[in-house]
Amino acid sequence: MGRLQQAGWIGAWLVGAAVVEPVLVRRLPLGRLDLVLLVVAAWALLRGPEAGVGAGLVGGLLQDLLSGHALGLAAGPKILVGFLCGLWKDVVHSGGVGVPVLAALGATGVDTLASWGVRALVGWPTVGGRPGELFLLACSHAAMAPLVCWMVRWGSGGRRFGRAADR
């Protein structure tokens, strides 16, 4: 799969996630679900930190555009998540569902903390969920992560996650 094809593939996934997310979220009892975060994390696990930060930048900016707040509020944390998840590509040695689940849990925590940090830095109100809501959000992300990872991987050459996939 060429670089252009890969970019088109992840771009389509990011656009899809950014479009679907607001439609789904208003119907969910939880009130929050970050599909873009899951796609960024999955892509980063699959392709490494460079691809992860790229996906984070594009996905975050799309989220910013569609959500109505300043551009960059979501993009900053997503870049960080993409980078950190990308680092796991060289650390995690198994290709099971545990990798995406752990990555999703970690990505949720990092994204939340980074969002608070960025908002505080530029003087935006630091609205955030209570610990219970964050826990539920993390659990939801963890539950969905294997499926999202499988779908993102499906059209990009079928690579497994982690170093074992590169053998």
């Binding site: 950014a18 569609l66 509020l73 935006w124």
Partner: protein, 274 residues
């Protein structure tokens, strides 16, 4: 493939994060603290219809799911309401029964005040299944002071007399039994006669003088002449008159609905051997 060193990776991260921070701070002075730019507008213009279409599709799906769920709920509710209606119907029937009983007992109470003798209320507990004989069993007997030949009435009129007395129940011989004979007067003309049972819904008036001026519709009351029944109790109404040998005879409709009696009054101590 170009190899990326860890330092370059971190450099890329720092560069992008710095760019984002610059982008953010650049918007702080903008109206609403958001500057999308022409490219952003173009992207939004392209994505908005997608979101609308997706929302409509999801909405349609939700409506279908809701409809299916509602059908199940409506079925359950329908079953529950049917059961409730059945319970209410039963309750209504019970109440109607109680109301009817209260009305009958009120009539009996009113009659009790009019009667000269002491009375005892009783309930019909069994009916003679034999069509040739008409007797009923009531729930009052010797222990309650009932004696053989005590007269039994309802608010409508004469029912019969006590045939047999048991300790806690009594058997009543209805006026419709062929063994029953009651001395009567035509209330309007004061002509005397005898009413006999004939094992059917109607009674037979016998021994009415051919000179009597009785006519259909006339009310018959007990004459008190035989000594068994007190005077003046309603027995029935003449339905049709006809000649029967030396006397006139008549078909009589009993005053009391003998096929439906449920509560009766016993005239305690009125019974005398004929």
């Amino acid at each position: 493939m170009i190899s990326v060193t860890p330092r370059r990776r971190v450099g890329l991260l720092v560069l992008l994060l710095t760019g984002v921070l610059v982008l953010l701070t650049g918007q702080l002075r903008a109206p609403d603290r958001r500057a999308v730019g022409w490219l952003g507008h173009a992207i939004l213009a392209a994505l908005a219809p997608l979101q609308v279409a997706l929302d409509e599709a999801v909405e349609t799906g939700e409506r279908w799911v809701r409809a299916l769920t509602e059908i199940r709920e409506l079925r359950a509710e329908n079953a529950r309401l049917r059961m409730e209606v059945e319970q209410l119907r039963r309750r209504l029937a019970d109440l109607e029964e109680a109301r009817s009983e209260v009305a009958r007992l009120r009539q009996l109470l009113a009659l009790r005040a009019e009667l000269p003798a002491a009375t005892l209320a009783a309930r019909v507990v069994a009916r003679d299944p034999d069509t040739w004989f008409a007797t009923v069993l009531i729930n009052r007997g010797g222990r309650h002071g009932v004696r053989r030949h005590d007269v039994v009435v309802t608010a409508e009129g004469l029912v019969g007399r006590v045939l047999e007395v048991y300790p806690t129940a009594s058997r009543v011989l209805l006026v419709s039994d062929p063994r029953s004979a009651v001395g009567v007067l035509v209330q309007r003309t004061r002509d005397a006669a005898i009413v006999e049972g004939q094992a059917g819904p109607l009674l037979r008036l016998r021994y009415l003088s051919r000179d009597a001026a009785a006519r259909p519709g006339d009310v018959l009351v007990t004459s008190g002449l035989g000594g068994m029944f007190p005077r003046g109790l309603r027995v029935g109404t003449i339905r049709s008159l006809f000649k029967g040998g030396l006397f006139l005879e008549a078909e009589v409709v009993p005053a009391a609905d003998l096929s439906r009696i449920e509560e009766v009054l016993l005239l305690v101590g009125s019974g005398r051997e004929p």
